[in-house]
């Protein structure tokens, strides 16, 4: 098992190096630089700034410097936000994105598994149809539309109640989390419920399901002990990329609900060509994704004994 984890972490490190290198050169290939702004800058000031940020050096040298600093965990200072270290930006804003993302994934997981199970149990009857219509809607309607709709609904609810049941936007309390997390997780929930439906149908037709019933197993015990554990495997497989995707890809939702998460800074940095922030957030997201995928692989083994015991040899 340890060998397996070490192997995965090593290949993860190579992945991160690749991401970093590709991003570094792609970023520098974009016309302009962080110092190009609307205001014209005198050549003297510009030269001084370039020297301060090391932009006057040849690209290869800049790359070497960047790699060296990255290995020490230092991504430098933001170009656009005066005197803010990239590490500080990440450590201050990523936890917010992470909480929002994890809440979204949790909602998506529970909701998706439940909806998929109901759809499979009532295959081709109205609960199944209802779930499948919801799935198509949730996948095809873009997130910003759903976000706007959700805000409208909150406003209407608050008006009807005559008091603030749920805040429309902002961050700071538990109540601020629910609606944006639901909006953020909705697409994933739809996707997961489709996977869950298919795999639960397979389990319902499996011999071991019939055999369990023939033993007198029924109801919740049948569901927990025999059906869920077998049916949830494909869902868990999808979970790794999903967690990373939802945690890092929430900037639209963060923007609409005025949540100070990292996603917003990431997009801003790309727009303003804020080299250090781009590199810092990209490498950080890459590392996060690799870590989550490894964690999911490990949890896979906890659910399916066949993988647990073969895990030592690697796959």
């Amino acid at each position: 098992m340890l060998k397996f984890i070490a192997k995965r972490l090593l290949s993860g490190a190579i992945t991160i190096w690749f991401i970093a290198t590709a991003t570094f050169f792609a970023m520098h290939a974009v016309p302009g630089d962080p110092l190009t702004q609307e205001k014209a800058m005198s050549p003297a000031v510009r030269a001084q700034l370039e020297a301060r940020y090391g932009l006057d050096k040849p690209l290869i040298e800049q790359y070497q410097l960047f790699l060296g600093n990255m290995l020490q965990g230092d991504f430098g200072i933001s170009f656009t936000q005066e005197n803010r270290k990239v590490n500080d930006i990440i450590s201050k804003h990523f936890p917010i994105s992470a909480i929002l993302g994890l809440a979204a994934v949790l909602i998506a997981l529970v909701g998706g598994v439940a909806a998929g199970t109901v759809a499979a149990y009532y295959r081709n009857r109205w609960p199944d149809r209802l779930v499948m219509i919801g799935v198509i809607a949730a996948i095809s309607v873009p997130g910003f539309v759903i976000a706007g709709l959700a805000q409208l609904i909150i406003v209407a609810m608050n008006n009807a109640a005559g008091k603030t049941l749920l805040p429309v936007a902002g961050w700071g309390s538990v109540n601020h989390i629910w609606v944006p997390a639901l909006v953020l997780g909705l697409g994933t929930m739809a996707y997961l419920s489709r996977i869950m439906r298919a795999s639960m149908l397979e389990v319902l037709n499996a011999d071991f399901n019939t055999a369990a019933k023939a033993k007198g197993v029924h109801g919740l015990r049948l569901f927990w002990h025999h059906q869920l554990r077998n049916a949830v495997l494909p869902v868990v497989t999808e979970l790794g990329p999903t967690i990373a995707g939802v945690t890092t890809g929430g900037f639209v939702v963060e923007l609409i609900f005025a949540i100070p998460g990292l996603g917003r800074y990431f997009v801003q940095a790309v727009q303003q060509l804020d080299y250090t922030v781009i590199m810092g957030t990209t490498v950080f997201y890459g590392a996060f994704l690799v870590l989550v995928v490894v964690l999911v692989d490990i949890s896979y083994g906890l659910i399916d004994p066949r993988i647990r015991l073969h895990g030592g040899g690697g796959r």
């Binding site: 011999d207 055999a211 369990a212 033993k215 007198g216 004994p305």
Partner: protein
């Protein structure tokens, strides 16, 4: 007193009349073989006996008594107390019938937990003891393993343990040896025989292998196209076979002592979406008469009280009846 009395069971799944008329009876401790080719309704009969057919299937019976109860009246709640407790089932393929995510021990212990209310520990001990009785080495260690760590023969023994752990009155074995290779087959058969002798469990042994029938059964019911066509003791059905289908089946079995060219039964079984008006076997029967195509032989057609054949040849006015009784 009979343990199971089943009369005219009919099961249809959508347009398919999978079981058209199955009548069975089992005395306590009796082992009855249910024989027939693939698709004749054996497995549907087995699943129906546990009331485990999907809700789309329609089940009817003129009589269906088990241990003094009318099974047609039972609620799903009452059925749950019967499954795995009073009637248990051994499935054909142990590789797929055991849950891959649960340990062998917990799967064997599960019926005890559900039906007998045993604690986790007690149920586990009983499961281990049973594995030991079924000649599995290191039973405690084995009980903690998962199905994929077992060989086919050991899996079938685990499957048998799972079925008999509550000491059911009736054990339905649905082709328990078909998925196994021949050496393992013999081993599983001897385990089943031994269990039957020691516990007195009645057994409905479903198979298409006549060799296996001869080894384990007291009595035999032959099925064809959703109907029981011949019923009798092992000797009746094997050496005084009365139905032309049974006779044809026997001609298709190789015999070492008296080698003869094997005869396949010409033709195919009828389409059970549109079963024939008369006898189901008529189209393939070498003794077919005019009446066979027109009317089903639905009369008590017995050569002796315990030996019955659903065939016009055994009608009281048919001369063949005399032929048989004079012998």
């Amino acid at each position: 007193m009979k343990l199971l009395e089943l009369d005219n069971l009919q099961v249809s799944i959508g347009p398919v009349q999978a079981v058209r008329d199955v009548s069975l009876s089992l005395a306590p401790g009796e082992c009855r073989a249910l024989v027939g080719e693939s698709g004749c309704g054996k497995s549907v009969t087995a699943m129906s006996l546990l009331n485990l057919m999907p809700p789309t299937a329609q089940t009817n019976a003129a009589r269906w008594d088990f241990a003094g109860r009318d099974m047609r009246q039972l609620s799903e709640r009452e059925w749950r107390r019967i499954r795995g407790n009073e009637i248990a089932m051994i499935f054909q393929n142990p590789m797929t019938a055991l849950d891959p995510t649960q340990t062998i021990g917990s799967q064997i212990a599960e019926p005890l937990r559900i039906h007998k209310g045993l604690s986790k520990r007690e149920a586990r001990m009983r499961a281990i003891a049973l594995l030991e009785r079924l000649a599995i080495a290191n039973p405690a260690q084995r009980a903690a393993q998962y199905p994929f760590e077992f060989s086919g023969g050991m899996l079938q023994r685990a499957m048998i343990a799972m079925a008999v752990v509550c000491e059911p009155q009736l054990l339905i074995a649905d082709e328990p040896t078909t998925a196994l290779d021949v050496t393992v087959q013999a081993e599983v058969l001897s385990i089943l025989r031994e269990l039957r002798e020691s516990s007195g469990t009645a057994m409905l042994f479903i198979t298409h292998d006549l060799g296996v029938v001869a080894e384990i059964a007291d009595s035999v019911s032959v099925m064809y196209a959703g109907q029981t066509v011949e019923t009798g003791s092992l000797q009746d059905v094997f050496s005084r076979e009365a139905h032309p289908y049974t006779q044809a089946l026997k001609r298709a079995v190789p015999n070492m002592e008296n080698p003869h060219r094997l005869e396949a039964i010409a033709g195919t079984p009828p389409d059970l979406r549109h079963p024939p008006k008369g006898c189901g076997f008529a189209a393939r029967c070498c003794e077919r008469m005019a009446i066979c195509d027109q009317l089903p032989p639905n009369f008590p057609c017995e050569s002796t009280a315990a030996h019955q054949a659903r065939c016009w040849l055994w009608h009281p006015e048919h001369p063949a009846r005399w032929r048989e009784s004079e012998q």
